[in-house]
Every structure is written in structure tokens, then in C-alpha cells.
Amino acid sequence: MNQFLTASARALAWSSAVASSRAARQVPRGGVPSVIVLVAGAIIVLNYGLLYTGSVFVLSACYAIVTAGMAVQIGFSQQIAFSQSVFFGVGAYGVAILNSHLHMSVLLSGVVMVVAAGLIALLLGSVVTRASGLALAVATLMLPLIAVGYVSGTDFLGGPVGSPLNGTLWPGGGSTTLVALGGGLIVVVLLAAVVFIASRILSSDIGLELFVLGVDERTAAALGVRTPRRKLELFVLGCVCAALGGVVYAGTQQFVPETVIDPTTELALLIMLFIGGRRSPIGAVIGALVIQYLQGASNWVSVNILIVEGVLLTVVLLVDPEGLSGIVQTGIAWLRGKSEPASAPADLAAAELAGAELAGAELAGAELAGAELAGADPPAAAVAPAASAGRESPDEIAGPDARDATLLEVRGVFKEYGGLSVLHDVTLALPGRGLFGLCGPNGAGKSTLLNVIGGSVAPSSGEVIFAGTDITRRPPHERFYQGISRTFQAVHLIKGRTVLDNVAVACLASHTASIVTRIGRSRLDAARAKATRTLADLGMAHLADREVSSLTLETQRMVELARALASSPRLLLLDEPASGLSEEQRQRLATLLVTLADRTCVLLVEHDLALVAQVSERIFVLSGGHLVFDGGPADFRSSPVVNSLLVGS
């Protein structure tokens, strides 16, 4: 077994040396990990393919094909589906049956089974991926349970005994040496291909979509991610990888035991994924390798494998939730940090402070511009720094007339939760430009109304008309692409990503593309370029590379606003953007909002009545789901209804 370790180490060292020398010359995305897998795998197979060590390695590579797919589906996108062992079984049993009963070659039957698994996954996935989060996990947990009951009862599949194969993965036949080495090499090539595809998907623009989907499905939908389609694609991807793993398992082991579809196989795969590093395809490969190596070692470790796995998983997750790959990455970052001691944390903090002041100064400039604009022609608004972010806005093209045309109409909207009426016959209309306030006491239905307009909540009855089209039943991501953009009451930024990527999410425009197209070409750079422009327009360019959770609340709200503006929306829905901000920060925000209102329609939900009255040209007041006031700021200040409701008697 020690030979195995030294060989792996030598191969890894060599291939990473190759990889790093190539990295300088712009390696294609996903190139490094797959080259490492290919070279290291080939060396191990060719050196030890005929020994026990080699057979353990080939078996672990079969599982690694499955876990690499799981890293995309379960780890990165957080779509927990326990469907792997079943599709592993579909691939393995399918090949066994086609090969031993119909005398089809293993390679051909493997292709047939992977395609078949894809189709089955498509059918099954269109049902189960309607569920989210834990519901998806529990619903798919039934799959292995159902499959075990079926397989153990059918003679066709060999029942509890299992199913043998006649052929081998290596198509040519020949000597045992050739068959063993050839089969092993085929597995390694397929594994490298899967790692390559997985890495390319994760580093593409759709990879960013998937990350957001994993953090919060509702935010993803509001930012234009076509969530039902992505979830289905992920399910199919995970199932196809599992089936491919099953195919090569059957082809190299020449026997399919009943235990492959057991829930214990599912558990074993999940443990490989989490030990290796749930978000990284190469980490998932390492996890499979480590676990299979421990299980295959014929010593006290494999006898007490349950204890070893339990302790290993606990320790690894305590050290780093991102598993072994996370530990390695932290180690590399630490080593790099040691070689470049210049970037001390204190400097970073100082940089943000200076940056915030800079942003403040730019915003003050915007105030100046806004004040001048009060008397100027509407087209001149494009000169203001913030306004230039919307140079592609359709309204800009439509010209000043857009100001009067109705953009959004809410007609007789009711919303009931159970017996509770949250919105009662709400009707309002907004033109193409201007700033409109929406006030009301807690629980008045303000956020629900925003959700009805944004699409995350369907009204019980009534209509929402946007730019002349009825969008009442359209999903949130379609509304996003029609020009409705929103922020949330609580900051909904994507933790663990930079400011630039957070804004780039809104610039992706990949809703019509499928995951498969991104293996070839990524549009992430284009989205990042657009996000960079938006940030520059708002005077926030210096924040681009900062991780969002390290920012102050005001800056986080500004990033969220930048994200909402990046798609050049026609309608901007802001849910309490000023909450948690100081008076000074509110004034900066107010100035910015006024500037924005010159080129787009802004609906502002806010508790700060002074702020609303200061910036809004018209104000709506909701109380108990009823629209009780609709008028200008002067009427708003003097209205007895508003005073009794919001100011208190």
C-alpha cells in the first residue's frame, strides 16, 4: 500500500509542476484539475494496475466519477438529492443485464445505459425537483428505499445475490494484463472528463447562478436565475454521473452486488464528498480516493473502518467545513501569505474606510448634480454619475414621454394566507419615471405587495400589468428580465463571494442557456465587465474584490442597490433600504434615490416617514391590507388618516 502512496505523491508532484508551469500561460478553465487526475491516474494504473493497489485505485475512481457530479449538485448548488445510489445501480445493473442476457459489449451497453439514465432522470427530475431544500432531500431519500425493496424481490436482477457480467470494459479482449490496464485507463479518462466538465460548469457564469441558487433560491429567482430549469439540470447531471460511475464499476468489477443500490452506498458516497470537500470536484475525487484506500487497506484500519470514518469525518469538518480541499486551500493561502507579508488585515480595514469616504464624496457629487438637475431638462439626467449606469435603459430610448405612460398597474389585488387577509383590493398605477413611497404600520402588507409585484408571491385574485403585459402568473426570473428589479428588507447578498460577483449575478443574462453550453464557453467575464462599469458609475469600483460579509451595513446596502441597478431596471422595488442606516447615511441615500428617479420608476417601502415625504412625488399608505391614502407629500404630511396611523395620536 505504501507503494501506492509514494506513486500518488510522485505523480501529483509531477503533474502539479506541469500544471503550474502551464497556469502562467492561461490554462483553460478546469484544465489543471483534470490534467492532474489524468496524469496521476494514468501513472498509478500503468505502475500498479495488476496489483491489489491498482484495483483499489480503479474502484475509487469509479466512485470518484459519482462524487465529482455530487460536488456540483449537492455541494456547490446545495440541492440535496439522495438519488446517486439508485442511478449508480441503474448504470451497473443495466450493463450487467445488457451484457450477460443480450450479449451486448460492455462499452456499448454503457453508452446505452448512460443515455437511458439521463432520460429517466429527466422524467423523475421534472417531478421531484419541484420540491426544495429538505423536501427534496426527504422525497429522494425514498428512492433507494424503494429500489432496495424492488431489487431484492426480483430474480431478474439476481435478487440478494447480484448480477455477473461476461464481458469487460476494455473492448479488445486479449491478455488479462491488457484488460486490467485498459479498463483502468478508460476509467481514468472518463474521470478526468467528468472533473473537467464539472470544473468548467462551476467556473462559468452559470456556476455563479448555481452558487446563488445554493445560498437562497428566492434571491436567485429575483435576480433572474431560472431556478426550476437549473434544479432539473443539476438533478440530471448528478444522475448521469452516478450512472456513468455504475457503468464503469460493473465493467471493471465484473459483478454487481445488491448492495450497490443500498442506502449505505449513498451514505458512503456522501462521506467521500464531505471529507474531500463538498464544493470542489477535485476534492470529491480526493475524498473517494482516501475512503477507498482506508477501506482497502488490509489492516486494523479496514477492520475498524466505521470508527476511522467517524473520527476522520468529525475532525476534518471541525477543522474546515470545506473538507480536505478546504484545508489544502487554506494551507496554500497561508504559505502565500507568508511569502507576501505586505497585505496585513489592518491595511484592508483602512482601505475600506478610505473607500467609504470616497464613495461618500462621489455621492455628494451626485447630490450637487441632482440639485442642478432639479431645474434642468430630463435628458440631462444622463450626465449624473449614477444615472449613467442606466445607459441601456429602454426608458432612456423612449425619451421624456415615458414619464407619463403607465408602467406598472396593480388591479384589485387580494392576498389571503389561510383565512387571514393580507391585501384587500389594492389598486395602484405607476408611471415610467419618478419616486413613489409605500408606507404603513407593521403587518400592513407592504412587503407582500412588493412580493406580488416581484413575483415571489402569487395574489389570490387581481392582476399585475407591467408595460402593457399581464405578468400576474409569470415567475420572478421572467419579471427580472422584463425590467423589474428589487432589494430585500434584510440584506440578501451572497456570502463568500466578492462585491463584483454579487453585482455580476444581475448581469448574467444566461436564463436562456443550458448548463451544457457552458462547458464550451463562459460569459462570466462579460457579466463581470458590466458589473465593473456599474460599480464604477456608483463610485464603488475600489470595493470590487472585497468579500461582502466584511463590509459595513451601509456598504452592503449600497452593494445591494448596485446589484439592483446593474440590470438597468425599468422598475426598482426597494424594501426598507434605509433601515439600520444613520441620519447622515440616509441623506446620502436620499440624494441617490432622487437621481435614480429621473430615469427609472422607483417604489420605495420605508418606515422613515420624513425620508419618504422628502423624496417621493406620490405616497401610498397601506393599513391592514387596504390602501388608505394616495397623494402627494404635502397632503401626506397634513392627512389626518396618515397622522393617526403612522405618527400616533
Binding site: 426544495s132 429538505l134 425514498m142 475498524n304 473520527v311 469538518l317
Partner: protein, 294 residues
């Protein structure tokens, strides 16, 4: 009276599911961690008593008490070492998925230790109430089953009384509703996490002891028990012990009826298909949406 006897069998297994479901959901309320090791504690209870009584020759009460004390001490140590580092450290590990894997690892560890201590054969704790089945008309009541039901009623009732009528119970409920808020008003949520973890571990072990004469356990039985408890807790919405109890009973009765009337061989398969369909049809009504955001 096929129906009556199926119903009795269903309620007996259902009450076992229900108890484990209550253990899972009560601890989830205070810790936000789904405990998948609860069945392994049950397995340790049954096999531990069997080992001490049959192999080591200790008197039965001593064997039972020793086993429960060992389980409690182990649970305490696990909380003090692993959960404290994981949750109370400077970088608390959050997220339902990742914390779930800690209990996965715990389950593996316990199974591995049990394999070393108890071997791989099927064993069971001795029946605490032996004798032939009691009959009432054409209905048969197995004594072991009645004992399980009695334990379920007593432990379930004690839980309910504790939560409903004591200050500790209120504090427990508060830390489940809003952990941060509870901590602000002076409730030591960590203490409740530890208390309930040890408590549910001991209750699970006790149930393992009572239940094992019916089914028999091996060192790998824990995962199956956890799974049924986890499923029943899931259908109760994870945070609601009362609903978990009802869901457990319902799944038990449904399983018995499907096995009796539909197919003895494929009854479970049909059961799982029905359960999967139910989630997909009514995720919100079954409480999944709220559990996800928690």
C-alpha cells in the same frame, strides 16, 4: 379480526417511530441539528444490556442502569468535545447540511465501537415482561408490544408535562423558537442543547432495550431506526414534537395496513412511494418550507 390485529401491530411499531421522531425533533428545536445517531443509541442500549447480562453475568437491573449511565456519559462527552468546538467556538459551524454530517459521523463511530464490543450477530436485551400473548376476544396483544406502548405513553406524557408546566420546559420552548432571543433574556441555550441531547440519548437507549425483544438488533441496526425516526420527524415538520408523534403513529399504522392488505413483500416499497408522493404534493402543509428557512 385481521384489521384489529393489524391496527395493534401498527400502533406498536408506530409508537416506536413516534418516540424516535420526538427525540429527533425536540433536539432539533434547541440545537438546529438533525440527530441521525439517535437509533445508534437505541442499538447500544439493547446490545449493551444483552452483553452485560448474558455475557458478563450482571443482574438485569444493574446491567440496564450501567448501560444507561454509559450512554449518558458518552453523550455528555460528545457535547463537551465535538459540539462545543463546532457550535460555540469563534467560527460556529452553521447550516443544516453540514451539522447533519456531524451526527452521521457520530453514528458511524458508535456502530464501529459496537462492532468491536458486541460482535456482528443478532442479539436482543432480555424481555422485561415474558410470557404468552394476552388475548381479548380475537385480538392478540404481545407483552413486549404492550410494554413498548406503556413506555411511549409514560415518556411522551412526561415530556409533555415538562414542556407544558415547568419553567425549564418554557425556557426550552423559547430557545427553540428563537435561540438568540432566548439567550438575550438569560436562557442558557447551550445548557438545553446538552440536557436534551443527553436526555434523548438515554430515552433512545431505553427504547432500544424495550423494543429489541420484538425485532432483534445487530451493530448496524441503528441507521434503520434513525431513518424511521427521521422520516416521522420530517413529516411532523422537524420542529413540532407533537406532530412528529402523530406522524410516527400514522406511518406505523399505514405500514402495517399495507403489509397486511396490499402485499407482504412490497408493502414497504408502496409505503415509501406514498410518503414521497405526499411531500411532493403538499410540501407546505407538511411543514417543509418553514423547516428549510430555519
Amino acid at each position: 379480526m385481521k384489521f384489529g390485529n393489524l391496527l395493534i401491530a401498527g400502533i406498536t411499531t408506530g409508537s416506536i417511530y413516534a418516540m424516535f421522531a420526538v427525540c429527533v425533533s425536540v433536539w432539533y428545536r434547541v440545537s438546529n441539528i438533525l440527530n441521525l445517531a439517535v437509533g445508534d443509541f437505541a442499538m447500544v442500549g439493547a446490545l449493551g444490556v444483552d452483553n452485560l447480562y448474558r455475557v458478563k453475568g450482571l443482574p438485569l437491573p444493574v446491567a440496564i442502569i450501567t448501560t444507561l449511565v454509559v450512554v449518558a456519559v458518552f453523550a455528555y462527552l460528545y457535547d463537551q468535545v465535538v459540539l462545543r468546538i463546532a457550535q460555540d467556538g469563534r467560527r460556529p459551524i452553521e447550516g443544516i447540511v453540514i451539522t447533519f454530517f456531524f451526527t452521521f459521523a457520530l453514528s458511524f463511530f458508535i456502530d464501529g465501537v459496537a462492532k468491536v464490543l458486541f460482535g456482528t450477530d443478532v442479539h436482543a436485551a432480555p424481555t422485561l415482561w415474558g410470557g404468552p400473548a394476552l388475548t381479548l376476544g380475537s385480538l392478540n396483544f404481545e407483552r413486549a408490544g404492550l410494554l413498548v406502548l406503556a413506555c411511549a405513553v409514560i415518556i411522551g406524557g412526561a415530556f409533555w408535562l415538562y414542556i407544558r408546566f415547568t419553567l425549564g420546559g418554557k425556557a426550552l420552548e423559547a430557545s427553540g423558537e428563537n435561540s438568540l432571543g432566548a439567550r438575550i433574556v438569560g436562557i442558557d441555550t447551550r445548557q438545553y442543547r446538552r440536557l436534551i441531547f443527553i436526555g434523548t440519548a438515554v430515552i433512545a437507549a431505553l427504547f432500544g432495550i424495550v423494543e429489541s425483544p420484538i425485532t432483534g438488533f445487530t451493530y448496524l441496526s441503528g441507521a434503520t431506526i434513525s431513518l424511521t425516526g427521521f422520516l416521522a420527524a420530517a413529516y411532523g415538520g422537524f420542529r413540532k414534537p407533537g406532530r412528529a408523534l402523530v406522524a410516527g403513529l400514522f406511518i406505523g399504522v399505514l405500514e402495517a395496513m399495507l403489509g397486511g392488505y396490499v402485499s407482504a413483500e412490497y408493502g414497504d416499497t408502496v409505503l415509501y412511494a406514498i410518503l414521497a408522493a405526499a411531500i411532493l404534493a403538499w410540501p407546505r402543509a407538511l411543514g417543509f418550507e418553514s423547516a428549510v428557512s430555519g
